[in-house]
């Protein structure tokens, strides 16, 4: 008998400890939270907050106003570890850099900003838990990220039920357009969709008079999405896909596929992949003496492509965001100033050659929310409306104009054609 009692008590102790552990990470037991909670806490200390800018002149409020007010908490999810880490790390770096910058310059409306960053480990289940923690315990006003499309789709239901605005840093168009064509009320995203990038490429091919296209793509989600969009847009522009080949991301020789494409005698060849396979195609094309111009996708917008392709990279043209060619843009370009500033800040803090468009998406996520917060104040519903009403916001990826029908807010100005010339990115003519 004593055995049993002993056993039951020890198990109860273990379970109790587990429960304590759960409670421990929450700090004090939290009351049932509601979406309007941040408003209540902010409103609880209105007297000193309101009084200080009025009482003291503007000059002194510039120096240390932030500390006196309730901080605005924004949540951020990034795939810092796991397969998505090449996206998540520059995003995390950007969030940390911007938090510091904003607080140094006085915060948002005098409120300091606190960005609570959580790693999703490139894992959907962990992204869902991290989202719930941000909403329930950190009581954030909005959530930035996550890095990957799967994670963004996995948490969409959670943020919608909790009524928290989400500004995703992932690519898939499915994030902001439901299956039935409706727009998810609480979800936005900043990176360009593949449709937009393909459209710029199709327009470019058309103006250049390349009508017969040889298409090569990598057989994964990225290549798949590019192929689908291209097949959708090409016929209306009068483009004809004369050859269509695929290769695996790990293949080391694409001569066979290129020979078949060459046999179809296209005007131009388009490759939809990322390095190293994308670079190997360019290299093989040069070895085969293919005279037709080779176009690549925005997946080659980093230094890895050039180092693998070597001299074959010269003359490759691809669609991409403007960040890569910021200094070559005309001064009249609305984004130029922002792009150069971000390039300077980021490379100064994290080193040259670390710049990537993914950090740019994070910059957009942060500033879209920060900008909307200035107008809406700390209320999730009002913040969502303010984000949806954001017009002509100049960001890294493009100029954003959100609306009830468009939660991506970009037009084809967000994509430009880039050419590789002697190891440098320049705008394509």
């Amino acid at each position: 008998m004593r055995n049993r009692i002993w056993f039951a008590t020890s198990l109860a102790v273990v379970l109790a400890l587990l429960i304590l552990a759960l409670g421990g990470c929450a700090g004090a037991p939290a009351p049932t939270p509601t979406p309007s909670k941040p408003v209540a806490t902010a409103a609880a200390t209105p007297a000193p907050a309101k009084a200080s800018p009025v009482a003291s002149p503007a000059a002194s409020s510039k120096t240390e106003p932030a500390a006196s007010k309730e901080p605005y908490k924004i949540g951020a999810l990034a795939a810092v570890t796991g397969p998505g880490s090449s996206l998540g790390i520059p995003e995390r770096n950007t969030y940390q850099m911007l938090e510091e910058q904003v607080n140094k310059s006085g915060g948002i409306n005098g409120h300091p900003v606190q960005v609570v960053i959580r790693d999703t480990e490139s894992d959907e289940t962990k992204a869902v838990l991290a989202t719930k923690k941000l909403i329930e315990e950190d009581k954030v006003l909005a959530i930035l990220g996550p890095s990957l499309s799967g994670e963004s789709l996995a948490i969409a239901d959670t943020v919608t039920k909790a009524e928290v605005p989400l500004i995703s840093a992932a690519a898939s168009i499915m994030i902001v357009v439901n299956k039935d064509g409706s727009i998810p009320k609480w979800v936005f995203k900043t990176p360009q969709s593949d449709a937009l990038i393909v459209k710029t490429l199709v327009d470019h091919l058309k103006t250049k008079g390349y009508n017969k296209i040889g298409w090569l793509s990598v057989s994964n989600a990225y290549g798949d999405s590019g192929t689908t969009e291209f097949q959708k847009l090409a016929p209306s522009a009068g483009l004809n896909i004369v050859a269509k080949e695929t290769f695996a991301a790990t293949d080391t020789d694409m001569t066979a596929q290129l020979t078949r494409v060459k046999g179809a005698n296209p005007d131009a060849i388009v490759v939809w992949s990322i390095p190293p396979s994308a670079a190997i195609v360019s290299k093989n094309a040069a070895q085969l003496g293919i005279k037709q111009p080779v176009f690549q996708s925005h997946g080659i917008g980093n230094k890895a492509f050039m180092s693998v392709a070597g001299p074959a990279a010269n003359g490759v043209v691809f669609p991409a965001g403007k960040l890569l060619v910021a200094d070559a843009l005309p001064d009249s370009d609305a984004q130029k100033k922002v792009l150069l500033q971000y390039t300077k800040d980021y490379t100064a803090k994290f080193g040259a050659d670390t710049l990537s468009t993914f950090g740019g998406h994070a910059w957009d996520c942060f500033w879209v929310v920060a900008d909307a917060l200035k107008k809406s104040g700390p209320d999730r519903a009002k913040l969502r409306d303010a984000i949806e009403n954001t017009k002509d916001f100049v960001g890294i990826t493009g100029v954003f104009s959100f609306s009830a029908k468009d939660h991506n807010g970009l037009d084809n100005r967000a994509v430009t054609m880039v050419e590789i010339k002697d190891g440098k990115w320049v705008p394509a003519k």
């Binding site: 940390q96 490139s122 898939s172 499915m174 439901n178 999405s225």
Partner: protein, 358 residues
């Protein structure tokens, strides 16, 4: 029963205690984040209990358990979105389908033994994952399957974490009871004999292949139901959660908890899930600006320490420590003059256990 050191009545008492604790836990955890962690522990428990039967009792290693979880999730997802089937019916159909797949796979697979079996199941898991990625018309490919409906019954919709918590734990506890019955039955004894020595079991007239396939089908059906619940809970699935990584995580849960007891599976699922969440919250407080990089390292170290000091797993390990401690106390009472001999290893392990459970 001798193996895990606890008897039948203790199982009932523990089960009763567990039902009371799980039933009243939401009174303490009103926060949907905590409820959500508990719900995922429930899902992981279903996976781990099934694998525990297969690995711990029958002694058959499987590195492809995530495949059954995925088949359940995708069957439910496809049936309810593309074919608009009733979700409850879909869960049943998915479980039966997964069971059939497990049977078809099990017949040739169990011709393999030891490392070869591990490789075979590993290959199976990878093939299923590739099917999820490549069969785009059915599964939505790498982008996944959206718009999976929430569960509802007679107008009562499972629309928040609390409701899912109760649903998932009701099913998880049901699976635990079923597993305890299997373990303490003729089948359970046959399985343990296979684990002990397959050749000996065969000479004693145990149809080893039949029992191994039976238990694989049961484990696969548990995993399938867990997958279906995951799909309806998140209302979205993509191939990533059903990859090789999860298969390994389930093995870790079972091994950490203790292979020789169904309760170990529960404890292992709870420990690994809670530990990874707690580390995520605790580490940034010590290392400013730390996000994800250190958690994995600390998690790995903790798992290593557990395996060194409690090689039989948390459950059986703590049972052993409690029992030896009690024996010592009793012998001390009997012979008052004798000085108590304290085993250094048990002290270390106990101290460690306290840290572990915090």
């Amino acid at each position: 029963m001798e193996r895990n050191g606890i008897g039948k009545y203790e199982n009932y008492i523990t089960l009763g205690a567990l039902i009371v604790v799980m039933g009243s836990l939401p009174l303490l955890l009103s926060n949907s984040y905590h409820l959500s962690i508990m719900a995922f522990i429930g899902i992981n428990t279903m996976l781990a209990v099934g694998l525990c039967l297969l690995m711990g009792y029958a002694g058959q290693v499987s590195l492809g358990h995530a495949a059954f979880y995925g088949i359940g999730a995708y069957t439910s997802g496809i049936l309810t979105t593309t074919f608009k089937m009733n979700p409850w019916l879909a869960i049943g159909v998915a479980a039966v389908f997964t069971g059939v797949v497990a049977y078809v796979i099990g017949v040739p697979m169990f011709r393999l033994k030891g490392n070869n079996l591990a490789m075979g199941t590993l290959g199976f898991g990878i093939i299923v994952y590739i099917i999820f990625v490549e069969m785009r018309d059915w599964t939505g490919g790498p982008s996944g399957l959206t718009g999976i409906p929430s569960l509802s019954i007679f107008g009562f919709t499972f629309d928040n974490d609390l409701k899912y918590y109760y649903l998932i734990w009701a099913i998880a506890l049901l699976f635990l009871v079923l597993s305890l019955n299997i373990v303490n039955s003729r089948v359970g004894r046959a399985l343990r004999s296979i684990h002990g020595s397959e050749i000996a079991a065969e000479t004693l007239g145990v149809n080893t292949n039949k029992y191994k396939i039976q238990i694989l089908v049961v484990a696969a059906m548990y995993a399938s139901v867990a997958g279906s619940l995951y799909a309806h809970y998140l209302t979205f699935i993509n191939p990533q959660p059903f990859s090789f990584k999860l298969s390994i995580e389930i093995v870790v849960m079972v091994v950490i908890g203790g292979l020789s007891s169904v309760w170990g599976a529960l404890l292992g699922a709870a420990t690994t899930t809670v530990l990874s969440e707690v580390l995520r919250g605790v580490i940034p407080q010590f290392l400013k600006g730390a996000t994800g990089e250190y958690e994995i390292v600390v998690f790995g170290i903790i798992l290593m320490v557990v395996m060194i000091f409690l090689p039989e797993g948390l459950f059986s390990g703590s049972v052993r420590i409690v029992k030896s401690w009690r024996r010592e106390k009793e012998s001390k009472q009997r012979t008052v003059d004798e000085t108590a001999i304290v085993e250094p290893s048990s002290v270390v392990a106990e101290g460690h256990l306290a840290v572990e459970d915090k």
